[in-house]
Amino acid sequence: MNPFISFILLPLLMLSACRSEQPNSSAPSPSSPTPAAVQSPPKSDGNALTIKGSDTMVHLVSSWAEQYMKVSPTAQLSVTGGGSGTGFAALINGTTDICAASRPIQAKEVSQAKEKGITPKEIAVARDAIVVIVHPKNPLTALTMQQTGDIFTGKFTLWDQVGGAKKAIIPLSRESSSGTYVFFQEHVLKKADYTVYARLMPGTSAMAQSVAADETSIGYTGLGYALEMKDSVKMLSIKKDEAALAVVPSEETVASGAYPISRELYFYTNGEPGETSKPFIAFCLSETGQQIVRETGYVAVH
């Protein structure tokens, strides 16, 4: 028997066995339940604060929580992921103080909240942008959203179809387990499937590495990472439509909302933030808080 197989499968089985014990299995992931602090039930004492929601934001919110607890040592924060939907459900059920969400609340969720006497209040805390990258030797400088989508759905297979050289395009995507994959699919591919010829890269660095190596490839990555890699890959400007101006991806254009492939990341509270959540949210929006946003690869809101 090949022992290798047993080695990969056994931990996987154990992993799944552990996960099945979690009550919230709507979108669990190994990284999502990241308690940033000692777990304590919500509202048990004045300084406990729970933040639940988006998996995309877990790393960011944990970093905030860590720094916040250094400034304000009496605070007890617990941060968990599970997905934006899980976060909204928890807010509506009153099991979390703050819901972290990478999408705005849906009308359905607002009415569910109203039935329970909860008024969700939205606070934008950071921005997340995805940059389309190509090899530095690629003569192209800009694409429209439509063209970018058509390249990744496989409608365009040659660079000259979008104004480049007569060479085959190698589309590079992230693996389907990535949040970026889904966000890009929803916003740029307009929910269509990726072409089967798209090569799926196991990580952001593998993506940047391949784009830097292969002259005819095109990929995408978060803005923070693209800026770090700007010497070896070229960031394309994006036009919202044919008539619009091409927008260079940068912290400024993302913050102003001009760059089209970006989304806001939110906190939702029940009504105005309470006594414990208010100082934490203020910390997140402060200069220090927004510096953490930049350090974790996102874009500040101001």
Binding site: M1, N2, F4, I5, S6, I8, L9, L10, L12, L13, L15, S16, R19, S20, Q22, S25, S26, A27, P28, S29, P30, K167, A168, I170, E175, S176, S177, S178, Y181, V182, Q185, E186, K191, A192, D193, Y194, V196, Y197, A198, R199, L200, M201, P202, A206, Q209, S210, A213, D214, E215, T216, S217
Partner: protein, 292 residues
């Protein structure tokens, strides 16, 4: 060997327990894989596994066809075997028959070191050295291809195949060789017409075990093959193997979803293939009395 016997019963039991552990584990793995895979057979049905596309995450219709993954694993395994076999057999022939004791003392440890290189490290090497080299050599648009994966997997399989083939060649009775040489055959003729044919079953088994290693390898293929789920027989194309699919997707898949049980089907198919290869190899070895 049994006459030696172990007087210490406790020791005997302990060893028996350790030896039978693997049987228990294999059975348990089959059982658990099957258990997690069953829901898929009920809901989308097993026919869904015959789809020509593997698109597990989709806003349209998720598709869970195993065919591109099977094709990817097959292409890589066939290519890697083609690279492995001549290299290993030549190497084994030299070490078993021609090498001086000093040469053997240098060659064998290095072959073992090659076997011991962690596959992630080999993957890095592949990504940074082999992929760009293959890209240049064949003027490909990208070095992330089935060919690159196969070259690296061949590197991983060669030590296994050399070691077992060498044992097989050395276990050919000396009388065969002496008789052949006495009849006036040259050393080369003796090797090709007498020694290697006599050792052939062992070599075949070695190759099958090597193939088992190739098909089950994960990290290298995940890193260097590009992972595009297309059905192709072109070595220059990107392919997605069964192992890479499980490794890339299992971490974030919603527990209990259709995608989750589809991944267990991938695992089950993979396990059956490696199991089959191993069983065949063992039987060949046993039939020709070469079981070590």
């Amino acid at each position: 060997m049994n006459e030696l016997g172990f007087s210490d019963k406790a020791m005997r039991l302990l060893l028996l327990g350790a030896a039978s552990m693997s049987i228990l584990i294999v059975l348990l793995i089959f059982l658990f894989l099957g258990k997690e895979a069953i829901p898929f057979a009920e809901k989308p049905g097993l026919l869904a596994l015959l789809d020509s596309r593997w698109i597990p995450v989709s806003f349209q219709q998720p598709r869970f066809g195993l065919l591109p993954l099977l094709a990817g694993s097959t292409l890589i395994t066939v290519l890697a075997t083609i690279f492995t076999v001549p290299l290993s057999i030549c190497g084994a022939m030299y070490i078993a028959d021609l090498a001086s004791p000093l040469e053997r003392e240098i060659l064998k440890p290095f072959i073992e070191i090659l076997a011991a290189i962690p596959s992630v490290v080999l993957g890095f090497f592949g990504l940074l050295v082999v992929a760009p080299f293959i890209k240049e050599l064949f003027h490909l648009p990208s070095g992330l291809s089935a060919l690159t994966g196969a070259v690296l997997l061949a590197l991983m399989a060669v030590p296994t195949v050399i070691s077992i083939s060498e044992d097989a060649i050395r276990s050919v009775p000396l009388a065969y060789k002496k008789a052949s040489l006495a009849l006036g055959a040259s050393q080369l003729q003796t090797m090709l017409r007498v020694t290697v044919p006599a050792a052939l079953p062992g070599i075949v088994a070695a190759v099958m075990l090597g193939m088992g290693r190739i098909i089950g390898e994960t990290m290298v293929v995940l890193m260097v093959t590009g992972n595009a789920g297309i059905i192709t027989w072109q070595p220059a194309e990107s392919v997605r193997t069964m192992t890479a699919t499980i490794a890339a997707e299992m971490g974030e898949v919603p527990f209990g979803s259709v995608h989750y049980s589809a991944l267990f089907w991938v695992g089950l198919v993979l396990l059956l293939i490696t199991f089959g290869l191993n069983v065949i190899a063992q039987r060949v070895l046993k039939k020709y009395g070469m079981m070590q």
